[in-house]
Amino acid sequence: GQGDKNKDDYVYFNRSTAGFSDEAVPKAKAAQLKLEHYYKLAVEAAVERNGRRVELERKLAADPNMSDERKQKQLQALGKKESTFLRLKRTKLGLDDFRTVKVIGKGAFGEVRLVQKLDTGKIYAMKSLHKNEMLKRDQLAHVRAERDVLAESNSPWVVQLFYSFQDSAYLYLVMEFLPGGDLMTMLIKYDTFSEDVTRFYMAECVLAIEAVHKLGFIHRDIKPDNILIDKDGHIKLSDFGLSTGFHKQHDSAYYQKLLDSANGVQQSAAPARNSVMVNPIHLTVSSKDQIATWKANRRKLAYSTVGTPDYIAPEIFLMQGYSNECDWWSLGAIMFECLVGYPPFCSENTHETYKKILDWRNHLIFPDDVHLSRESEEMIRGLLTSQNVRLNVEQIKNHSFFYGVEWDAIREIDAPFVPHLRSITDTSYFPDDQLDAVPDRPSGTDTSGNKDLAFLGYTFKRFNLTDKAL
């Protein structure tokens, strides 16, 4: 019968990779992963495309005033847009498609450049991230999260990502260029802000952080360097370096495992490092010229691979679990800096800073020579406090410090400092010190192909902006 026949068909095959070279097995693993990724994306793309079409069809069906002919035209226009997007997916973007105008920033794993896309003349900020450095520091989740947040959001509070691509040495993020520089540069320039100016930036930060939380992310690394200023003087958040997407399934341990299994490495029992790295960076701080010293060292610290711990909440160091309240702590530290001139726990070295943050009860000191209003001090104390009593977003918004803030319209009002820009490539709001030595193009060093596995699926092109993208 049929059943017997089927049984006869069944074959046992002894699998073994003994006959293969060291390269074949990881190549096969890569083929597996890439194909899985390919089908996952294909399904997602189909669902999304379908959603866009159904949405438009529904909208048009509900409009009694539009002629059928115009409706048909709109549907054709959507088809055209979708088709253009398919074309964009075949377009291989590379470094050669961009011209560097200027190096404008430096981060832990590479630089940020002002670039122009050659075919369209559009201006972007391009961040390069050195793959090897990132692998060494177990920063894979880092990039992935950064890309995911940027890519997924259309939020006015988050720097938009247009493209990402990679070569053997670097990952590249091509983002919108924010010509106003960052809050760190602004604080270096002005020492302190008035309470009104502080209120403006803090209010915008509250909405921005809230937006990130609503996307399902904890930023974890809110600091003045990551608060960028757009052409109208409003803020946007960048650098989701440390952000953990708690709705994301993959973390660096996951990628490290992929990589190890592809390289035939046995799983070690050691847990992935989650702690913030410590590097000795010495700040000399005497009480009188704290501001000056702080400023002198501030940018160096920003360029270092450790980054500054000044704004990190104590519960993160304790590693006993934390949630999105940690971002409100960071906001408190930034607010302190805006009004006082230096962050609350800054000290001789990062180790001292950690200690002070952990023992914040004894180290949160408001200096006598700086006058703060009662509301400001209360607000800061409501943020720089234990996790369980820290103000939540509603309490923050309703706090008397923010009295009079129109939360729904703040992005529309005039910002206190509006950058005066002479052209779309004006970089006068970016420091040129210490960036001169940086080459115009990232210098490619060769890395072995296996490592790319960790950066699988990194390539991204934004859909809804095809007109800008082409």
């Binding site: 699998r15 990779t17 293969f20 074949a24 890569a30 194909l35 899985e36 959507l78 074309r87």
Partner: protein, 209 residues
């Protein structure tokens, strides 16, 4: 089985391997032209993706595809593919050389702006469909060789569910856009080639619906 079998049994037609797949569900939904989309763009993107994907699999087994192991580009017990050279002569090549030619040729087409335009507003050429048909046939032969000569390698490397899904997807795509030539699946005497048997088996089991 409900379908005919080649005279020598093939692993890729045997259970459980013939049924192994990565993608569950109807491949057709992935292949059908989405409403309002330009068919040329759709086919172009699909060809682009298939090329990149089939490359991954050949890359994984290529160290066993030497002139010694695979002196000819076979795709069935009797069928040998020949390459048409610059002088229009049919030549027999080692499989690795043949496949290298195929990949080089396809890569060049994909990068040719007059055939696979990527810039905005540039149209596809009039002969785009026939070029795709051509490409499709050559890539089909690469699949055929993978199944015919390297399926054991594929099993050792545990990538048969992946290869099966990719190939089934490829067949469904070829059917849908009418670039799959049945002749390519049949040998000289109209008996199926290796992948022809696979095609029949999958058709029977509904995998290609």
């Amino acid at each position: 089985a409900l379908y005919s079998q080649p005279s020598t049994p093939k692993l890729f037609l045997s259970k459980p391997f013939v049924e192994a797949s990565l993608v569950k569900g109807s491949l057709k939904t992935l292949v059908l032209l989405p409403k309002y989309l330009d068919v040329m763009e759709w086919v172009a993107m699909s060809m682009f993706d298939f090329y990149n994907n089939v490359n991954l699999f050949y890359g994984a087994v290529s160290e066993h595809c030497t002139a010694k192991d695979c002196p000819t580009m076979t795709a069935g017990d009797q069928l040998v593919y020949t390459w048409v050279d610059n002088n229009n002569k049919h030549v027999k090549l080692p499989a690795s050389t043949y496949i290298d030619y195929v990949f080089t040729w396809i890569q060049a087409l994909l990068e040719d702006q007059s055939i696979f335009p990527t810039r905005a507003g540039v149209p596809f050429p009039a002969n785009f469909p026939s070029t795709c048909k051509h490409m499709y046939r050559q890539m089909l032969r690469v699949f055929a060789h993978l199944y015919q000569a390297h399926f054991e390698d594929i099993l050792h490397l545990r990538i048969e569910p992946h290869l099966n899904s990719l190939f089934a997807h490829y067949l469904v795509f070829g059917q849908e856009f009418d670039i799959l030539d049945q002749k390519e699946l049949r040998g000289p005497s109209s008996t199926p080639t290796g992948i022809g048997y696979l095609y029949d088996a999958w058709r029977t089991s509904g995998k290609l619906d």
